[in-house]
Symmetry: C2
Subunit: 426 residues, 2 copies
């Protein structure tokens, strides 16, 4: 008897960005947490597996959120009338300071993890705060949630307010080692540490080098921010006169791909050299369209990145993004690409729904390995949606129902089941 | 004993665009459907009225949707990868043809009205289709809903597909008269007819003149579309060589303000002369930010319109907008204004949350008279929101809770009560 199950439903996934596959009333097989593909009838070899009947419903891969900040959920949706640097000082940093208090951190992170659990997300790359113990609480909660995540203790040793600035590069590095060692000793199955310099502005060169050493020693991935906002880009230029460009600061410290997974949020103002380095080094771009609107940052040239073959996924970037809804991120990515085409570059054709769906599933999923698709050999991540609540006057095609479910954010009210790596989460 | 009630809660409203008033644990009085203002304690003269205790909740004016299409709800959220003219031909017109069938229209409109009833909207300006009888069904359903609306039978006598093109200007005008007369004879209390040429492309000059006569004869308001998309604007220029600009076509027919209420959706590409005419004639602009992104139309210069003193409200514009959520419209208006500032006009500062909240309440409410505020003498429209579902880690200010409720679209899940002109709808 195999360990697994079969799911029946309208199975929708994107093997490629131009290829939205819709298999109506089809079967997908989960065996030992791995997807064995999609079939019109149940293959004999899986005849012994139980069938979860989701007939009529939409079955999609779990969504992958490549960039969000767990501590910022506490004020999400408020304080949106600022740009990045002012927003950090006035809204974000005061909240992040609270996480020095582990009791507060626990109660706040319990809310975050509960919301992620109820969302359409199966995999997420998370920022914590500079506080090692509180970030470990977040990691514990994520591990218990059944979701699959990278969790980062944030590093900041300059240009941060008292109370959110670590006392030295060596202290910050030592705390990072402690965080990584603790994650290892706790033997998490679904939760991994990730090196997390907040951004260049808040990390000295010495700290960056230390983080590069830790990254290499433990073979860890990296997450950070890159070229988000004109004010930020200018400040980086002033701080780092020897760097060829913003991302070069990460690269010189060994924190910018080159065989190791690295994901950089935003990349709106990446100059041509930086774009080339992102491509050469295999860095992922976490495109966070709502955040980029809310902070008036701008629009990342995602069409151009895709044409070049750059790896792109989507992120919600709470609390510059206002919720954990990756459905929102999918449709926002399309919307801003239309404005980019209209106002910035008329040769950059707008993203289509299948393309954006791909970015939020298989695109970002690649950061975790084989995830975000129902192809044979992929981790079995699935979300089942009941869209009857949307009440259409006449039956739509499954293709149209899927698109409408995203635009109407059915992830808020319509998720009836969710699996991450074959384990049921909802 | 007076006819009315008192509501207690955190009362939030905008007497002006820069003036978000937050009255915590305050009382607002409804007397004969009219708001008598907001008070810290119950004035003696209202001592006999019952108190509806919404302590701790957010109490806001009903939202006003200045532009949406009832028949298009049937495919909302799908077919979003097109621009305006292609979208009309491929997605919208085929659906609108179905409304020749009154049984279909009834079942479809029942869904629309139920959704509007459950939404945060208390007042709405609706397009129907060309079909008089079906549009009367919509008007009946709206009247029974308790919501307050203008409902328009659409006029189209050119450049529309067979089945959606009225046979002549005189036929279209006669059907419009029939629609108006029926509305009058049915003695609606909350539902009024509105003259509704679809847009210049689909109406001959003869039809426009006929509609102008009907408008004047019955003293009716007008709704239409204006300067939405470059392709549309170009086609109007080709069709109407004698008009000074797009809106001049409406104006020459007596359908563009000048003492009569007229609301024009979009106004993205209005040239300076058109903008001046909008101002002089007192025409309302219905800003529909999500629609304008979805159809890649662009961004309307709302800051400039507000600076000039032009009347502006917000619209959802289903199905180019994807849902009836006016909370979505409020935050989208802010978001696109930030991109407009970033990419189009760096002197046009982004809309703030209070400004956009104002546009969606008192701004658009003015189209209906005194609506959209809790000031003394305004119609009593109120929505009560329970935001506990948002689960914040520490208490936010009421101001921040309000903003967050909008960004997180609490109108989908958090409405506990709604009143329109003093009558309870939810």
């Amino acid at each position: 008897m195999q360990n697994g199950f079969i799911m029946k439903g309208n199975i929708c996934y994107t093997p490629g960005p131009d290829n939205l596959v819709i298999r109506e009333n089809a079967f997908t097989v989960c065996e030992d947490g791995i997807c064995r593909g999609v079939f019109d009838t149940i293959p004999d070899r899986y005849g012994g597996l139980k069938v979860i009947d989701c007939s009529g419903m939409l079955v999609i891969p779990g969504l992958v959120d490549l960039h969000t900040h767990a501590p910022q959920f506490a004020f999400r949706g408020s304080g949106m009338d600022f740009e990045l640097l002012e927003w950090l000082d006035r809204v974000t940093f005061p909240e992040e300071m609270r996480y020095a208090d582990e009791a507060y951190a626990r109660s706040a992170y319990e809310i975050v993890v509960a919301r992620l659990k109820q969302s359409a997300v199966t995999r997420v790359v998370l920022f914590g705060t500079i506080h090692t113990s509180s970030t470990l609480i977040l990691a514990d909660l994520m591990e218990n949630s059944g979701l699959i995540s990278y969790v980062g203790k944030v590093n900041m040793d300059r240009n941060a307010p008292q109370g959110l600035r670590e006392e030295s590069a060596s202290y910050s590095a030592a705390e990072t080692r402690r965080f990584v060692e603790e994650c290892i000793s706790r033997r998490y199955r679904h939760t991994k540490p990730i090196i997390t310099p907040r951004f260049v502005i808040s990390c000295t060169d010495e700290l960056m080098r230390e983080l590069g050493r830790i990254r290499e020693e433990y073979n860890l991935p990296v997450q950070s921010h890159l070229s988000e906002n004109p004010g930020e880009v200018l400040q980086v230029k002033e701080l780092e006169t020897e760097a060829a460009f913003y991302g070069d600061v990460y690269d010189r410290a060994g924190l910018f791909g080159r065989g190791a997974n690295a994901v950089m949020a935003h990349c709106i103002y990446s100059e041509p050299e930086e774009v080339e380095r992102i491509l050469e080094n295999g860095v992922w771009v976490a495109h966070c369209p709502e955040s980029n609107m809310n902070l008036a940052s701008g629009i990342a040239p995602i069409r151009r990145y895709l044409e070049k073959g750059i790896r792109v996924g989507l992120g919600t970037d709470v609390a510059a993004g206002t919720s954990e809804s990756m459905f929102h991120a999918v449709t926002d990515a399309i919307k801003v690409s239309k404005l980019y085409w209209r106002y910035v570059d008329s040769d950059a054709k707008p993203l289509t729904f299948p393309e954006s769906f791909y970015l939020a599933t298989k695109g970002g999923g690649a950061f975790f390995g084989k995830a975000g698709s129902f192809e044979d050999g992929f981790d079995f991540d699935a979300v089942v949606l009941d869209d009857r609540i949307l009440s259409f006057a006449h039956p739509l095609s499954v293709r149209d129902r899927l698109e409408s479910a995203f635009y109407q954010e059915l992830d808020q009210t319509g998720i009836v089941m969710k699996f991450a790596a074959g384990k049921q989460v909802i």
